[in-house]
Symmetry: C2
Subunit: 311 residues, 2 copies
């Protein structure tokens, strides 16, 4: 796919009114990556709100797609609101929601193996509850403690006081309370046959203008120990695109993915065979990445609000 | 090296008195992997003590080589003693000691960058102290806490209340108190130029007849975030062999590595160009691994105490 994509010569649309109009007319749905596109950290880019308004006024469906697994959709809507962006929960698609849908609607788990062992924060828990998926772990304080000699023996023996025989899935997201015990339990559940899922595998998390451990860093020890990759439910995994399509029932040829990262956002749109991909230069990827990289968008802009130039 | 090694046809020496005598006569030094060779878990193999006695009585130097980084050499001697194996601290070579020697004698650190940020337990700290290497982190309770919003800002800004400008090395070993804050700090120190070292990179730790997260699992998130491998100081890294040679000044052609794992112990001896390697079938590798695997020992035994058959 990356090779096919490398055949694209991206159109530069900033300041090109006719080009912008032509581009916008092709799509009914716009999927947005958020950080680096709509805002950076806590700084809303000027014109973001007006641009979203323009799209909505022209009858376009807007979907906010985020790999952030620590927040539920409701939490994320509040975050958008705090930045001044009006939205509804229905417009938000997060990796924790995508994971919950995957578990409840796509995975065919045996009757007695339906529990999820969660590594992660409250966002995952809220979305699992919204899909009626039973789970253990997560923010339960019982797991926020040191490992004991007794734990080794009980875990190794599969003692039901610590190993729940109904766990059929391990779901790993960003967990600010990661510890040795949680890692050991996840490893043993997967060795005992549980499906290994990750909300997303971004190794880093942007914060305070720098990078910190991301959800992928929680899966990394398990990948090394098990010599096995998780099924990842965030961008650029197509499991997430399938979940989005399952919910919004859109025509892929009339949808456009907007993002700042060639390797995740643009790849996500290209591999999902969307009608269009639009890169913006307010985040990670550079003009050079878009124009001559391995993964190229159909079009790119200096910044998202350049779409206002279509009027 | 693995290809060269695959040319070896290992000699099976169990019950072969003349073969055993000939083999033993070739070496002055025997390097022993411990778990899987001398004992398994808490179970001492019958004949281990007598076999070590035989070697010592015949003037052989015995060295216990362990990737265990949580114990100091003094702790490890106590462990040997508790299993009934007489030894001296001088006969023990652990990955924490190897790391300390590497930092104090091999790394050329600038005057103002000599501190080590430690992820690990007390064994590493004791060995760093024995080499007069200054360090922070490790078992310090100040690092055993949740990450706070303030931490992100201060770490990102390089605030000296949390980021020590004198840290020039990050040393990652097995840490039963691993957490998000420690991971974030290690990442930032390495990004700021600190040397990335690992006591060892075994992904798992054998315990209670099963496997648990090992030292490599502590490095895994950093490797993923940084896209960079650490310099590993445990087997099969030759940095460990160099440290052992630095200490014991032995003739490599007159030394033999004894172990149960082809891919670590035997590889360690072969790549170190030791005169001999001896596999035992009481641990991880099978007869098939030794006889037709990629990495083959010069000779192998059903069990270590078969060496007693040389008498």
């Amino acid at each position: 796919m990356a090779q096919e994509a490398s055949q694209i010569t991206p159109r530069y649309l900033t300041g090109d009114k006719a080009g912008l109009q032509e581009f916008l007319a092709k799509f009914d749905v716009f999927l947005f990556d958020c950080d680096g596109v709509l805002w950076s950290g806590d700084h809303l880019f000027p014109g973001t709100v007006e641009t979203l308004e323009l799209l909505r006024n022209n009858g376009k469906q807007v979907v906010f797609v985020t790999n952030n697994s620590t927040k539920s959709r409701a939490d994320y809507r509040k975050k958008l609101e705090s930045l001044g962006i009006p939205s509804t929960v229905e417009e938000i698609f997060s990796s924790s929601y995508s994971s919950s849908i995957y578990i409840s609607r796509i995975l065919q788990l045996p009757e007695n193996k339906r529990k999820v062992y969660v590594i992660g924060e409250t966002g995952i828990e809220q979305e699992l509850r919204s899909e009626n998926v039973p789970f253990i772990g997560g923010t339960d304080p019982a797991y926020r403690r040191d490992v004991t000699p007794d734990d080794y023996k009980k875990i190794a023996a599969g003692d039901e006081s610590i190993i729940d025989p109904e766990v059929g899935v391990v779901l790993v997201g960003l967990d600010f309370h990661m510890n040795y015990l949680k890692m050991a339990l996840a490893y043993h559940y997967i060795r005992r046959g549980a499906v290994f899922l990750a909300t997303n595998i971004d190794s880093t998390l942007p914060s305070s203008g720098s990078l910190f451990p991301g959800a992928g860093s929680m899966s990394a020890p398990l990948i090394m120990m098990l010599n096995k990759e998780p099924i990842a439910l965030g961008k650029p995994s197509q499991a997430m695109m399938d979940s989005i399509e399952g919910k919004f029932k859109f025509d892929r040829s009339r949808a456009c993915m907007v993002g700042d990262r060639a390797n995740t956002d643009i790849r996500f749109g290209l591999e999902g065979k969307l009608g269009g991909t639009l890169g913006v230069l307010t985040g990670v990827s550079s003009k050079e990445d878009f124009v001559s990289g391995d993964v190229r968008p159909h079009a790119y802009l200096d910044k998202l609000s350049d779409l206002l130039g279509s009027e």
